[in-house]
Symmetry: C2
């Protein structure tokens, strides 16, 4: 097991009807900015429920809607301006990963006047010339299980074709309300995205090389098995409470630091996927599904021991030689994604061979030349994965 730090102070309030706790969770006299995305939280009444609860205290409540999927830097600047000018002292994100990610950046950038005009420097791949030394406190009401942003301190912000990370000890939500019922109205494609996103978050921290981390490996395997168990059900029966509750809790647990503590991590699939999204607008989870399968086909040798463990413990594959077991595990994974309506080839999304050069150039521009748990995913290896994924 590798040495590690683990710290996660977000309070989780989980279950049906837990929105009623909002009045206890948001400070009574706060000036609150509610952040959200498109119209779905309005259309399905979540925003009204949130405002009803907040109105039980003596709070002033402002709203900022329109944060898009892959939250855009220029749009977030408008929210940052409101927080500064209106002296907002609590932010409540109502939505999925994009709204929560965007809110983390708003919270960090708006906390001090000295950041004004230098907001972009707060991101820039974690090497920030401006120190992030605080954040406006914020909570979340989750409406889309996928990214885990509701219980971690990371965010990814889009600026043109750049996808820029934000990380800080200050960007953990104070609380997150996770009510599976609030996610019943999601369209099937977003549920599929959530299942696959969670699956691959787990894979990135698990299918690397063994370091004898019993708890972490088995917890990762437990998340994968649970997703396989409930994935199709939660798509076919969106109001099956228990299936959805398992998806929601697994998606939070997959990226809150727990399964990644003390083990090597890959993330090559994510880095390549981010570039594809930035260049084409393809959903994050779909880029991951495509690249993960290609990653394993190209890098089965450095990942051999963990792929065999994954084959046996997650899929129960015990017959055949090493190569056959790995082949079958990859095939079963691809079939699982496909069973959710998730295609696993770039061509399925009308993305042609010209994407390869573009992604490789973007990876080079962003310094992504030695990705993965071994640092062995050079631009050449990334190119091979992309070609495999066509």
């Amino acid at each position: 097991m590798l040495n590690f730090n683990f710290y996660n102070p977000t309070k989780i309030v989980f279950g049906e009807g837990r929105l009623k706790k909002l009045n206890n969770l948001v400070p009574q006299n706060a000036k609150v900015l509610i952040t959200y995305g498109g119209g779905s939280v309005k259309r399905f009444g979540v925003l009204d429920q949130v405002k009803d609860e907040l109105s039980k205290g003596s709070r002033e409540v402002l709203e900022f809607g329109g944060i898009p999927a892959n939250p855009r830097f220029d749009i977030l600047l408008d929210a940052i301006k409101i927080v500064r000018e209106q002296k907002v002292d609590f932010i409540l994100a109502v939505g999925g990963g994009s709204v929560i990610d965007g809110t983390k950046f708003i919270a960090v950038a708006a906390v001090a006047d000295e950041y004004e005009g230098r907001e972009r420097e707060l991101m820039n791949f974690g090497f920030t010339p401006v120190p992030v030394d605080g954040a406006i406190p914020f909570g979340t009401v989750l409406t889309l299980p996928a990214t885990g942003s509701e219980m971690n301190n990371g965010a990814v912000i889009s600026d043109g074709e750049d996808k820029l990370p934000v990380f800080s000890d200050h960007t953990f939500p104070k609380f997150s309300i996770l009510d599976p019922v609030l996610t019943y109205t999601l369209p099937p494609t977003q549920v599929a995205n959530g299942v696959v996103d969670t699956f691959i978050h787990t894979i990135e921290q698990y299918v690397t090389f063994p370091v004898g981390a019993g708890f972490q490996d088995r917890t990762a395997e437990g998340i994968l098995q649970t997703l396989i168990e409930v994935g199709k059900t939660t798509m076919d029966e969106p109001e099956n409470y228990n299936a959805r509750a398992n998806l929601v809790w697994c998606s939070t647990m997959a990226l809150n630091g727990l399964i990644g503590a003390g083990v090597p991590q890959d993330w090559a699939t994510h880095m390549i996927g981010h570039e594809i999204t930035a260049l084409t607008g393809l959903d994050h989870a779909k880029t991951l599904a495509v690249i993960q399968i290609a990653n394993w086909k190209i890098r089965r040798t450095p990942k051999k021991k963990k792929l065999l463990q994954y084959a046996e413990r997650v899929w129960g594959i015990r017959e055949g030689d090493d190569d056959a077991r790995i082949d079958l595990a990859i095939e079963k994974t691809e079939n699982f994604f496909n069973s959710l309506g998730m295609a696993t080839r770039l061509s399925d999304y009308d993305i042609g061979a010209d994407i390869v050069d573009k992604v490789v150039a973007a990876l080079e521009k962003h310094g992504m030349t030695q990705l993965s748990e071994h640092g062995d995913v050079t631009l050449d290896v990334s190119r091979k994965m992309l070609e495999e994924a066509l």
Copy 2:
């Protein structure tokens, strides 16, 4: 899945050599009280290492040793007096669960002068006439993996034959340093206690009745499988880093709220075990081993579904009818405890039949008349378990 809250703000600093982080973790100008137990932290040099690190800041450092296993209320009062009189503003617990539990109580009771003379009212089974509304901040250096106290907010304090709980949002350690190497010098019986204690903490939150909690069940099973995998090894090879690291991390994870979130919990074994310890002084883990086996033998019907799941997923038992599979799972569990040198009968510890009436009377005195996940462990059922355990 049941509704739940999850909150755990303790920062974990895990791995070999992490004691070196102490100087960054304890406030620079603090007046620090180091709390510890018997002489082992002195004898094996841990206390000196701790003091070396603390001396790197401009801190004043006091010591309070002699906190016994099953930390005694009267002894802790002496420490509380020191904290009050000396205006200590940080406490560092160096030891196992008893030292950390005792430190939690010190931290709570010493925080306000109004508690003076009313310290015992801060416990009393969670119904506190005196509200617990703060605590002196404290951290821990763990030297004995077992209780999970290093990453939760609970403590059990002994006062005569009473074992009194302390719980509060304020009694999470600010940080805990978990260096497996610091535990190499433990005597084998304490390592066995740690394995069994962790195993049964997990069982209490897992072998109840199913509520469809995929993540929680599989994470609990992962802890149990990991303990079975490393238990004997970490006793036979105390300096096998990885085996010990797995024990340490599992023992923390078994009782930090994670696997118990959203599922029913039993704890009858613990409540009965506490009374046995209070009456006889028998080690906590040994009482648990004895009573857990008896609990399952007496209550196999209300626990049937989960015992079958435990048999299959933890022990791989798939042959035979329901009763045979449950019998084999109980037998394998008992054999596992025995393989660690842990006896599973009260008579093995020279405790005779007269304990039964005494424990039942103590349970009655403490209001423990409807224990377990179903509230079906009446005094009669507790009596049957004790008789089974003789």
